[in-house]
Symmetry: C2
Subunit: 104 residues, 2 copies
């Protein structure tokens, strides 16, 4: 995501997956597409290796985060996450207070 | 990292590497070991795939983050990062305002 002036919000989602895909990749893509249409959505960045996945999504306000958390289709995905896809996860809701970047 | 009561700080470091190791892995390990000895260090979590690397480190205060940024050995690593290891990176300094987790 591009540099934006603070302050906006970041949701850090750190997860360990269960074994196998079990429909995860398709649902993850659908959720990302849906999130992008939500009010206040600013961007998303993800990385996953064999140990851990980290997804950071960025939002204008806490209300936008709450609305996305309560989105009906997202709630269905959250339930599948608990029943099938994740061994564990942690969510941290953060206010971005400063940023800087480097470009070669 | 375990659940901690807010508020503490998260530094989200998102990077795209240049091609090849060029001494990166060794330095990254050394930096992680050094950071763990710093005052206010609370934890670190990383994931990297072919597209992107995301490292989130957690700190008690903004002063702790500043002190680690200015640490002599870390400054040497930062310079190598710009000259050799990274195509680009973004750093976001965030205050953690809330968190929750799931464990299977």
């Amino acid at each position: 995501m591009q540099e934006l002036p603070p302050s906006y919000y970041a949701v850090i989602f750190i997860s360990k997956r269960t074994i196998g895909d079990n429909g995860y990749e398709k649902m993850a893509l659908t959720m990302e597409e849906l999130a992008q249409k939500e009010e206040g959505f600013l961007g998303i960045e993800s990385a996953r290796d064999s140990q851990l996945g980290i997804t950071v999504s960025y939002w204008a306000t806490l209300e936008d985060i709450k609305r996305w958390k309560d989105h009906t289709a997202h709630k269905v995905a959250q339930e599948k996450g608990k029943s099938e896809w994740y061994e564990h996860y942690q969510v941290r809701i953060c206010k971005v207070e400063g940023s800087y970047s480097f470009e070669r």
